[in-house]
């Protein structure tokens, strides 16, 4: 009799992303029930664990757009043995990085001060609002990343294949049709 294998611990987070990559993760559908036999979740939008503890795998959605993203990303790198960039936003900033060519001050004024349909306006400014970076950054500019899964989002199938490879100790491989960039 083999002793039951200890479960693999997985943490996930969304930085400057749209949660589409997390939704695609849930698109593994019924495989979810197989997955929970193999893994347990640490910090994730699906659990109430607010800070990441020691984990085997970390999945990151979204690029880095503010100071809080930086803290969370570093927390994940410190705690996760294998860190994976999931989707276009994590890999290269994605659509939110479209703001990189704009001047923040001017945008703020436009949205919060000068736009039609505003009653009381004013640019939000409060210690509770995390400091913004003037550019949205891919996560590999801040910490070392072990794997990148492309797509916006990668399909549930691709995420499933990748994770099952990794959990089984194989080098993860995605077949050509599973690799897409839209």
């Amino acid at each position: 009799m083999n002793a039951p294998r200890p479960k693999v611990r997985i943490a996930t987070t969304s930085l400057a992303g749209c949660f589409g990559c997390h939704m695609s993760f849930l698109d593994i559908d019924e495989h979810l029930f197989e997955l929970v036999e193999l893994v347990e979740f640490d910090r994730s939008p699906l659990t109430d664990i607010k800070h990441c503890g020691p984990c085997d795998i970390g999945l990151i959605e979204g690029g880095v757009c503010n100071a809080e993203n930086v803290h969370v990303l570093r927390e994940f790198r410190r705690n996760c043995k294998t860190l994976i960039a999931v989707g276009a936003c994590a890999i290269n900033g994605g659509l939110p990085a479209q703001r990189n060519h704009l001047d923040l001050e001017a945008c703020l004024r436009e949205v919060y001060v000068s736009r039609d349909g505003l009653g009381e306006g004013g640019v939000p400014n409060d210690p509770e609002l995390p400091l913004l970076l003037d550019k949205v950054r891919p996560i590999h500019e801040l910490v070392r990343i072990d794997y990148f899964i492309p797509g916006c989002p990668p399909s549930g199938e691709a995420i499933w294949k990748f994770l099952t490879d990794l959990i089984a100790g194989r080098t993860p491989r995605l077949s050509y049709p599973m690799m897409h960039f839209d």
Binding site: S14, G17, C18, F19, G20, M23, S24, L26, D27, D29, E30, L32, F33, V36, F41, P45, L46, T47, D48, I49, K50, V64, N66, E68, G94, L95, P96, Q98, R99, L102, L104, C107, L108, E110, V111, Y112, D116, G117, L118, G119, G121, P124, N125, D126, E128, L129, L131, L132, L133, D134, K135, R137, E141, L142, V143, R144, C152, P153, S155, D182
Partner: protein
């Protein structure tokens, strides 16, 4: 009312407790509580801490890119943005109305979206609180815990969501961020193969949705002191309704009711939203606060989403959901049901409605054949309003002669609920937290109230924020790669 808990006096002297991040919701939010020496909560705020640049960077893009771009606002309800933008831009290309086939296909896509999002919200995100209790062990309070303790419930939830996602795939080409709708119509029909496969499962989905309504009703009946009272406050209601007053989640006119259920505005055409609505900004949140202009910011705010819609319409145009709506209305005994936890009940009624609508649309030959595109004379402005899973979603664009977008204004569902969510947080803080030693379980009460609204904090934060200090960003190798100074 708990408006006094918005800003405390002598804030410096109070102790701060933060819930950060708010979990099992979509997007990035944080709650701060300021507490005095007697453990009384003196201030409670839900801050939306993320910023996006969508409204600004869409300006200058060609209009035909917009329905695809805006989906990236939200990966849970991308279809809502996709369709609201397409509806707005139908006006720019002169496709008013779009063809019958395009409308039916978009409806199918949209109700698929409602079904998957409602299933996700109820089963994957909120059911752990209701099935295990608000103060259950943290490690168990998630979908994995539900799968272990209630395997059938979890399984039906996962398969309902899957079905909704498959409806989207069949109409948009991809489950998340597809490309089905275009300004002027749709780019594909539903294939016969997909139609048959979906139709084969549709009756089962109706049955499981009915079971989900039953489950929520059971929970309500088992503990009315909690479900009818938790976080309750009075506010107006707002949503689209069909011209004849029926529930319609894809198209219609705006209707507003006051907190006692009286209609105060009706039949407002979507193109005129800006004549009735205005938004305020508060310094401590990136999310704005909309209200009905004629009632002003103090009285004019309202709830949107399932709880508002089920009570704002005159009837639901599908039989099983309509029967459930009547039972829901009866539960209010002549008054409007305002309890935040009743959102879940209303949400499941809508999921049942969506399942019925999908089943019927799959039988409609307009989905598998017919004209996809319509044309007309070119315009320069359009508003598209849709009832997204979380509530009324407004997209407004102006487009120049060169086809580039010159103005983009978005009011997303969760923004409409901003004041309501903050009020719910304050009600719960006052009633359940004030004067007590704060435990993790007590703090979860606040999150339970927020979750009831099914907030999508990610797409609510499309505006840009400010950098009041210095940020230095060092790369993996320790080198400074970015340094920002603002004051």
């Amino acid at each position: 009312m708990t408006a006094e808990l918005e800003t405390a006096e002598g804030r410096e002297k109070l102790r701060k407790v933060a819930i950060d991040p708010v979990s099992r919701v979509e997007g990035h939010g944080r709650v701060t509580l300021l507490i005095d020496d007697d453990d009384q909560v003196r201030e409670a705020r839900l801050h939306i801490v993320e910023f996006r640049g969508f409204e600004v960077f869409i300006q200058g893009r060609p209009y035909w890119e917009v329905p695809v771009m805006v989906q990236r606002l939200c990966g849970i309800c991308p279809v809502s943005h996709h369709l609201a933008a397409s509806k707005a831009l139908d006006r720019v290309v002169g496709a008013v109305p779009p063809s019958h086939t395009a409308t039916q296909l978009r409806r199918l896509m949209h109700y698929g979206q409602i079904l998957q999002s409602h299933a996700l919200h109820f089963f994957h995100l909120s059911s752990p609180d209701m099935l295990f209790g608000f103060e259950a062990e943290v490690g168990k309070r998630n979908i994995v815990g539900v799968a272990e303790a209630y395997p059938d419930v979890a399984r039906q939830g996962v398969l309902l969501r899957k079905f909704g996602q498959e409806v989207i795939r069949a109409t948009a080409g991809k489950r998340i961020h597809g490309t089905g709708a275009v300004p002027g119509g749709m780019n594909r029909h539903l294939s016969m193969v997909d139609r048959d496969a979906l139709r084969a499962d549709a009756d089962q989905m109706v049955a499981w949705s009915q079971a989900a309504v039953e489950l929520v009703k059971r929970l309500h009946r088992a503990d009315p002191d909690l479900y009818d009272v938790f976080g309750v406050f009075r506010s107006g209601l707002a949503s689209l309704v069909r011209c004849d007053g029926a529930m319609d989640l894809y198209d219609g006119v705006l209707r507003f009711r006051d907190g006692d259920g009286r209609i105060i505005r009706d039949q407002v055409p979507d193109q005129d939203y800006h004549q009735v609505l205005q938004e305020d900004v508060k310094s401590w949140s990136y999310m704005k606060f909309p209200y009905l202009i004629e009632r002003g910011p103090e009285l004019g705010w309202y709830k949107v989403g399932p709880l508002a819609r089920v009570q704002n319409c005159d009837f639901i145009p599908s039989p099983l959901a309509e029967a459930e709506r009547r039972e829901f209305i009866d539960h209010g005994k002549g008054d409007v049901v305002h309890a935040p936890l009743a959102y879940h009940w209303a949400r499941m009624i809508e999921m049942l409605h969506a399942a019925e609508v999908i089943r019927d649309l799959l039988d409609d030959p307009a989905c598998t054949g017919g004209e996809l595109m319509a044309q007309g004379s070119r315009g320069h402005e359009g508003v598209g309003i849709i009832e997204a899973p979380r509530g009324t979603l407004i997209h407004h664009y102006q487009v120049g002669d060169d086809d580039l977008v010159t103005m983009c204004n978005l009011i997303v569902s969760t923004t409409h609920n901003n004041q309501a969510m903050n009020t719910a947080v304050r009600e719960v803080a006052k009633r359940y937290l004030s004067g007590r030693k704060l435990t993790e379980g007590l703090l979860n009460h606040i999150e339970v109230a927020i979750r009831a609204f099914d907030p999508c904090l990610s797409c609510a934060t499309h505006a840009l924020g400010q950098m009041p200090l210095v940020v230095e960003l060092t790369g993996a190798d320790g080198e400074v790669i970015d340094r920002v100074v603002r004051d």
